[in-house]
Symmetry: C2
Subunit: 207 residues, 2 copies
Amino acid sequence: MYSKNIPKIIIARLPIYLETLEMMHKEGIRKTSSKELGNRLGITAAQIRKDLSQFGEFGKQGTGYPIDTLICELKGILNLNHVWDVAVIGAGRLGLAIAQYPEFIHRGFHITLIFDNDPELINTRVGDLTIQDSTHLVEIIKKSNIKIAMLTVPASSAQKVAEELVKAGVQAILSYAPVTLNLPTDSVQVLHIDPVKQLQQMTFFLD
Amino acid sequence: MYSKNIPKIIIARLPIYLETLEMMHKEGIRKTSSKELGNRLGITAAQIRKDLSQFGEFGKQGTGYPIDTLICELKGILNLNHVWDVAVIGAGRLGLAIAQYPEFIHRGFHITLIFDNDPELINTRVGDLTIQDSTHLVEIIKKSNIKIAMLTVPASSAQKVAEELVKAGVQAILSYAPVTLNLPTDSVQVLHIDPVKQLQQMTFFLD
């Protein structure tokens, strides 16, 4: 168990390291250095060494990292050694696209529940799933012991649904709703995906 | 015109400031301080003052910022004073969800083109758009003078399509494909949306 006080900005880089190492492994590379990894990522070798040093000793000075060991260690640090069940709340276009996106299960996240409040959608099928009535969200998620949810409901209902998720024991919410969620930070992690904000930071650089 | 050498991490915070200011304005608030803004965002007042100082003088020491002026200035800095046309490449589930997501046009991005290479999709309609054949992507985008594209093609074709976008004069790519794109950084901005990486950084904090 690692300290939960490690800066989030460092934790946020670990999945990027993991992805790159897995790609290198697929390419048949067996060892790497913080310099080589840094070159691929556009991050300094010193930064990578400093990030990893938060979690103990990896590899030996001068001999580099064995990639398979480092992948395994990073997965352990990130709690990715088992598949996580995930609930999707909101079966609109985006929710349906997410529920059927194969990348989640390929990388350790199994979408096992999807909810909506639209009577026309409830009890219809999406791939292997049946859309559940979000009226029963709290009890169903509690019973299933799911800790992770993706939120694809409209902005106007996001806060209310997020509070229900916390009540149901969810500890991590990835929200696609374009609003800030006001939740107890000690019991739940929240991250947002907002493509408009990403476009807005790129337009700065456009002519 | 502002220096393009301002750190990207600062530019990335500007859309967040903008969103919060717009929300405050909607709430009827007319003036704010870096302290109040910081409280809403969980960022220090010093950081906000330092970020804004990169772009000149805003407000007077001690009297706070008039919100409407600050919104206007931020929009100017981010080049958001006009609507940007955007092309979506890939009309799978995610591409279709994006093409019909109202938040883009509400916040200044107008999706005017959508492409796919699937003969069954080409020439079918999505809202007001007709799916175009991606074989003609370069010439169509060039002619339309579009500078921004969202990439929702499979990982295996993302690099090839991204290179075509650069050839077509696109200067900003928001990619949903779970691969690193290798493109000339002097001619194109690239950002990625990868929900799996965001889930992976939250699982660190889960029990």
